[in-house]
Amino acid sequence: MVEKFFQDHERKMPRDSLITSENDSEQDAGLSLQEEHESKTHRTKRRDGDRQKKKRRNERRKGGTRAGEGEEDLQAVSEKRERSKRKRAKSKQETSRRENNEEEEAQLTGGKGTKARKDIRNEKTRRMEKEEVREVEENVDKGKKKQGSTKKGEKKEDGGKQLVKGKAREVKKKKHKKAETSSEPETSEEDDDEEEDNDKDVVRLECLSPEELEKLKEAVDERKKLIQSLRGKPWAMKKKLVTLRESQEFVEKYEGALGKGKGRKLYAYKVLMTKKWMKFQRDFENFKTACIPWEMKIKEIESHFGSSVASYFLFLRWMYGINMILFGLTFGLVMVPEALMGRPYGSMPRKTVPRAEEASAMDFAVLWDFGGYAQYSVLFYGYYNNQRTVGWLKFRMPLSYFLVGVGTVAYSYMVVIRTMARNANESGVGDDNSFNFSWKMFTSWDYLIGNAETADNKFASITTSFKEAILEEQESHKDDNIHLTRFLRVLANFLVLCCLAGSGYLIYFVVRRSQKFALDGLENHTWWERNEVNMVMSLLGMFCPMLFDVISTLENYHPRVALQWQLGRIFALFLGNLYTFIIALMDEINLKRKEEKIVKFNITTWEASLYNGTVSENSTASPVTIHPADVPRGPCWETMVGQEFVRLIISDTMTTYITLLIGDFLRAVLVRFLNYCWCWDLEAGFPSYSEFDVSGNVLGLIFNQGMIWMGSFYAPCLPALNVIRLHVSMYLQCWAVMCCNVPQERVFKASGSNNFYMAMLLVILFLSTLPAIYTIVSIPPSFDCGPFRLAIYYLQSTSKSYREANVELKKKLQMQNEENKRKNKRAALKAQMDLEEARMTAQEQQRNNNASVQDQENDTDIHGSGQRPYQEKYGCNPPPPVGGRGRQMPSSRDPGSRTYNRGNHGPSGYLPGFARQSEPRMYRVPSLQRH
């Protein structure tokens, strides 16, 4: 009997603990309990020396009890199990009771130490208890709850032993007991009584037939389903728990019966694995949520300011993520390899601060402007070398640079579009106006609001929205009013368009004027004239949104719609800004390129003189050692562009922060503290506190990102800068919002506007890649800086030279045609003359027979000379392209000499002469050697 009990017990214990224990800790608890249990039983007289027996039994069981067990009747098995369960339960109770007593004694004597221990345990149990709410499949904890209901019986039992103890202590003890026995055996202990009848039924069922088994299986599956869907059931927690427990009992009981022999083991293993997997998944989920940065901050803001403000911060966080990845790409694949493996600073002219700037290269003002050492560093395009591979890894730098540039843009497109698609999916069925009032009624209250001020605003906004809806409803019956609103809306749009056109013209005008000033030279103009463009732009950017705001009150839209309109309008305004900036930049690029031509020409002459000098002086032609700082160099327009973008970003960031500090913080401080000594209420009256400007901030973010996309090809440091900026502004704005902004007057939800942000981002992405691609493709790269002076240059020059060669070829063909015609004519004329001459001579010397022979010879001569041009042409056909390319290559590389060559080309129509062709080669040789 005892043996059987132990057999069963042991077989059951591991399985149960496997199945039921959810967390490792709990499993541990279960195991330790088991151990405890065993040790206790060991101590009990009834089971003296059980351990050894058990061991023996274990071995025996491993040996051959399986077979015998198989032979045993199912009923017997289940009976046995039942009996064993009961016994186990009893013993368990006993042990736990004893333990409790012990604990109590310890408590009485031990004081705080035990209490602390108890606390820990209690916490554990409490935690477990709480777990139930969500982790339905958990079996272990249920026991406790159940215990709650079956407490009374237990109490009686306890009561017998512990009549003496005070009530308070009893409570403690019970708690304690629960803590101790919270694992599976307890469960079975308590369930036993209830489910005895059930059990017997099962037994009968099991012996009956496979059909019954099938039925049972179905029932089990049903219960399982119930367990899974329990969380979605609208029942009270207690009912849920009871049902859960019951069905889990059921499943556990009969599942065991359903599995047979080996299958059972496999099944237990499977169950174990699924549980482990689920636990892992849950942990992973928890980990993931814990990893989301700023989650709590954003939630806090959301609860104070509603979801529209929070949507900005979510957007900011999303942007931060993207920039992190862009930063990783540029930093990991471009900047670090170049810094580590590329040629070090000072090894080449492009990597050295020129002599003239050296004195001020470390000044803070210069560095702040990203000149000096910053300009000649990995931060900018110009620093990168055009070596094919870099370092011992043979890292292909130019290729990597190019791919990172492309990848940045491609990744951004992908992410933006994917997010848009996901957002669209999530919003799903929206914009259906059929339940307008019902939705207003039942979903307009934002349960997140936990702030009296926000709540007041919300009440007000709900009331107004209801009133608006009622008005609209009434208006929809009266048609004249809707015409009025329509008229007003059209009028508002017209006004806004006027504003936009006006500002566009103003910017255009100013830019034109500034170009004129720039041509005149900046020195002889006033400060205003020099900074006119910037000033006008920022003034426009400041006042136009206000104007739009005023205009939009005409339209009487819902604030969410109004926000979108506002966003769209400011977007258009900013676009004008952006594109004027780009146009100005293009002008500057052209200037730089003109300068470059001159510099290039100078360099070639400088080098030629240097080269000639050295060659003439010492014939060994040892390379002249000049410090790279002294080497003249072209103005690298790519670096210039990169610098412009970086400066723009920096100044933009600074402006944002400063407006934040002054406009929000200072205002709030003034309002708060001057309010005590002011003649009117500052907080409620005129200045009051500022609201958080969602539209402005979102647009700032979007345009900032556009700059990054545009400029990151020329300044790989831009994503890094942007990451820093976003990081800082996350904290700064969170703080500013919480400390010095007030919730908006009309709180509204921003559920739909997220995709609106995304759409704008996509437009900006597109618009910012356009100029970047344009500059990359159409403007030849600088000749002496950057990774692409060969690669792209080669493409461009070859295509250009082919084109020009083609043109030349055509010209030449034409010319030769004409020439041939002329020659033919001349030849024909000559032939005629010859003929006439011959005739004359023939007439003169008719007697001479040789005349006809000579005539024939002449004829062949004429034909030969007529054909020769063609032959010449075809024979020379290969040379022209070669010559053309040879000539054009340096010409496009060397704009200085191009004009010279063009000058030579001018009187076209000559056949490619070798003497002329050698001229450009002379240019080419030194220029190649210099590199």
Binding site: R126, K130, R134, R231, M237, Y447, L448, I449, I470, S751
Partner: protein, 165 residues
Amino acid sequence: TRKEILRLFYRYRDLAPQLVPLDYTNHPDVKLPYELIGSMPELKDNPFRQRIAEVFSEDGEGNMTLDDFLDMFSVLSEMAPRDLKAYYAFKIYDFNNDDFICKSDLEKTLNKLTRNELTEDEVRMVCEKVIDEADLDNDGRLSLEDFQHMIVRAPDFLSTFHIRI
């Protein structure tokens, strides 16, 4: 999750440290009166706080045990399924507990939402509109099915019908 439950428990306990024991293993029969529940910062500005407490409490009067408390926040959490939320939302808006949202319920809801700032005519009109829109079986009141049908299409329901704690 375990952490959330623990946090909820502490919140629950913070409401009345003298009433709630620190450890909860033996299910003391502790109930927090509605006054305490309703004074939680998450709820105190909510116009439906009384209804919420009533719906989730076992006795229907807003006095909550820990179970009820957990129940409430599990339903109002972000993780709860939409149908469950809809069911409880229905119960919350069903002021007289007759399993139908009738006109008087709607009026009460509306008055709570707007703090009685609408005139009676307006209230009546809005209620009529709501029933007009959402009542599918034309019995003049909203059943749970009507309500669910309407609420699952609402774009904002899930984002607004939850409480963060």
